[in-house]
Symmetry: C2
Subunit: 441 residues, 2 copies
């Protein structure tokens, strides 16, 4: 730890809890949690482990369909995230609780209410990752024949977020007088929303008084231009996808530039790339853990997942031949971030199809650190110090083991080096994201 | 306790938890819970008290607007009910958790998911009271200029419930194979929903596997013809409004007849009128409790509430004169049940305006029993034995005191008489509603 440790930024860590873990074959392992996915005690255990490690938040992704093409190959969704986080609020005391909400399929009044409710229930720990969804299958569960186009989805997302914030501001705490001889509420202080937009009309005010955080914390995960703009305009936390330090730095700089141009302090936007870690007592043990999970992966499954990522029929690809040429990013109409990652892996590693599948098997192209607790901590510091990240959204390949390993072995090293909090300084999610100083705890 | 005790039906009891209690002036009392409405621990305390009493369920009502005309006169909504019940699921072990969902403002996929999630989280204790909402103010929070008409709302409600049940049936538990060497799900067992209706298109299947109860329990509270039909067709529990035994019996018989005509066993529909109780060690103490709360009530508030119930400007009414004539039920376009009750009170009691306000102040015309634990228990038995109710939806005038009084003093008498369970026989809400036999516990 050098003399400049005091001025080096503290690191932010979220747990992205997903199924049996982010590795596509995690559920096939003999000790997997596949039978516990509907058991709230499993999720409580993950949240408590993350809280024991002092992580900023536990984050749940979401989707609006069963995912017919893939559900035979492994679990995706099980419990519903908002109700799950409401339960987790009472199993934890300090850790942030971040849900995903699709602005394409939710309306602002329901979302604003449930998120404000979650913020009350958790004492100020609610966050929401606003997404615009990805598939026609999801649209067909919500009275739409197909997914609206990218521009339409992002237009709706902008309006959705704007209505959310107006609703959260509409019933200030000070409006509650609770005067036993007079009024319960000073109606003069209620602020009508009167949002009339292209997608939603919302009169307001919200029927939930302003929650502890005022506004629950907004997260964004968009990789496209409009997604980055939305992040730069509103988000306090950004979940990024980056395979390597250079692309992470480019992404973070771009989001910070956009925020700066919108008049925001870029330091108010905490950028956290997804991070898959395989941690072992030795380098060899870590690699063995990775290999053991990869071993469980049926190759044709991975090939089909790849077909989804690249929007191309991969069934004729030869496993041990180089990856065939793919169209440039500009011609791809699906989720941009993941496709860009595939292109970057191909460009940087020139892999065979089989090798590419290996890179993608855990986390679909997110940064992957494999090694001892020290080497993983080193790499985390290196990314943060290089301006590539403000921290990471941890995507353990197998749960609960992956987060236990990280909390028990990597976190203490980061604490020792003065880069991560020992215990929480504040009680709200926003206070965790803001903390520049690492409390001694 | 007579020899026929063994064949007399067991009694069902729900706690309808609302704000500081159902009396309009409850929040003005010196010991009121007005400062705790946003504190989940308050709701946990209510749920635990109800569970200590062995009640079937705790029920939360809901509305989709702040209620601008009235919010100065007392609290209405605060926390959001579904997230609240998800938290309560982890503070309790056996009691049912019933939320309200508006079919006018919710879409089936979101509702089906969150209710299935709540059923998983609670281990099979979720229920939902489907309502069609009541005000234009609510509509304006959901991109509608005004509330749709009665027929349209009930058409939508029918379709909503039908889509909910199809979604809940769409991913049978047996479809999860979790075969480490094969498939996670047998996709052949997934049942597409393919609902194409007037109000919703839902492809399905749901992305939550079938919850412990299969289908969360459906409740209904409609008083109108279409509301009763909906109850008769789908509901396993009905929350009724009845001022006196005769109207309760007529309502219950009508719902049972409709169920019978639809081919259902009427005993599968548990009808629970709302019940306000003031319990005291003596008759005089009970009456004093009622008087003390009535004393806190600003008269002009009650008069304005009455105007809402009867759809008439009451501002010119003289407090100590008889209630002016009101139009017959057929001409009233608002909520039918409450209006019918007002007409019935007027017809049976010929009250002055002030007296009518007194009857309505707690619970808005629901049955009100005032007396000792013995006399309240007697009256409960009398209604059930007369076929006027299968039990009651308890609406304590002030909380938490009202439910503590009931659980500590009335429940033991009903248990002693063999009319109410001592401890739960089952673990699901449906098992509580089904129980004909009172377990010795």
């Amino acid at each position: 730890m050098g003399d400049d440790a005091a001025v080096r930024p503290s690191i932010h860590l979220n747990l992205f809890a997903f199924g049996c873990g982010h590795h596509a074959a995690a559920w096939r392992a003999p000790d997997s949690s596949v039978d516990r996915l509907g058991d709230i005690a499993y999720w409580e255990e993950l949240a408590r482990t993350a809280e024991r490690g002092g992580l900023d938040a536990i984050f749940l992704a979401d989707g609006q369909s069963v995912g017919l093409d893939g559900i035979d190959r492994g679990p995706r969704w099980f419990l519903e995230p908002i109700t799950t986080l409401a339960a987790l609020a009472r199993a934890t005391e300090r850790i942030g609780l971040v849900t995903t909400v699709s602005s394409t399929f939710w309306t602002p009044f329901h979302a604003a209410r449930q998120l404000a409710g979650l913020d009350h229930i958790s004492g100020g720990r609610a966050g929401v990752n606003v997404v615009t969804s990805m598939t026609d299958e999801e649209a067909r569960n919500h009275s739409m024949p197909a997914l609206p186009g990218h521009a339409e989805r992002y237009g709706r997302a902008e309006e959705f977020v704007s209505a959310l914030t107006a609703l959260w501001d509409s019933w200030p705490r000070s409006a509650i007088l609770a005067d036993a001889d007079g009024a319960y509420v000073d109606t003069e202080q209620l602020r009508p929303v009167n949002h009339r937009g292209e997608w939603f009309d919302v009169a307001g005010p919200l029927n939930v008084p302003q929650p502890p955080q005022g506004r629950p914390v907004l997260f964004q995960a968009g990789a496209s231009g409009p997604g980055r703009d939305l992040a730069a305009r509103y988000a306090e936390g950004v979940y990024a996808v980056a395979w390597d330090l250079e692309s992470a730095r480019a992404y973070r700089e771009d989001v910070r530039d956009r925020a700066r141009r919108l008049g925001r302090d870029p330091d108010d936007v905490v950028v956290m790339p997804g991070l898959v870690t395989f941690v072992g007592a030795t380098e060899a043990e870590a690699r063995e853990r990775q290999r053991a999970l990869n071993e469980l992966l049926p190759v044709e499954d991975s090939l089909r997942q790849l077909a989804f990522f690249v929007g191309t029929d991969t069934s004729g690809w030869e496993l041990d031949a180089p990856v065939p040429p793919l169209p440039p990013l500009e011609e791809f109409t699906g989720p941009q971030g993941r496709y860009a990652t595939v292109l970057r892996i191909i460009e940087s590693k020139r892999p065979t199809v089989r090798e590419l599948l290996g890179y993608l098997a855990a986390g679909g192209g997110h940064a992957t650190f494999v090694g001892t607790p020290e080497s993983v901590a080193d790499e985390i510091e290196r990314w943060v110090d290089a301006g590539a990240a403000d921290g990471f959204n941890l995507m353990p390949p197998a749960l609960p083991q992956g987060i236990e390993d990280f909390v028990d072995h990597v976190v203490p090293i980061l604490q020792e080096r003065g880069r991560f909090r020992r215990g929480y300084a504040g009680r709200t999610l926003r206070s965790h994201l803001a903390a520049d100083v690492v409390p001694a705890g």
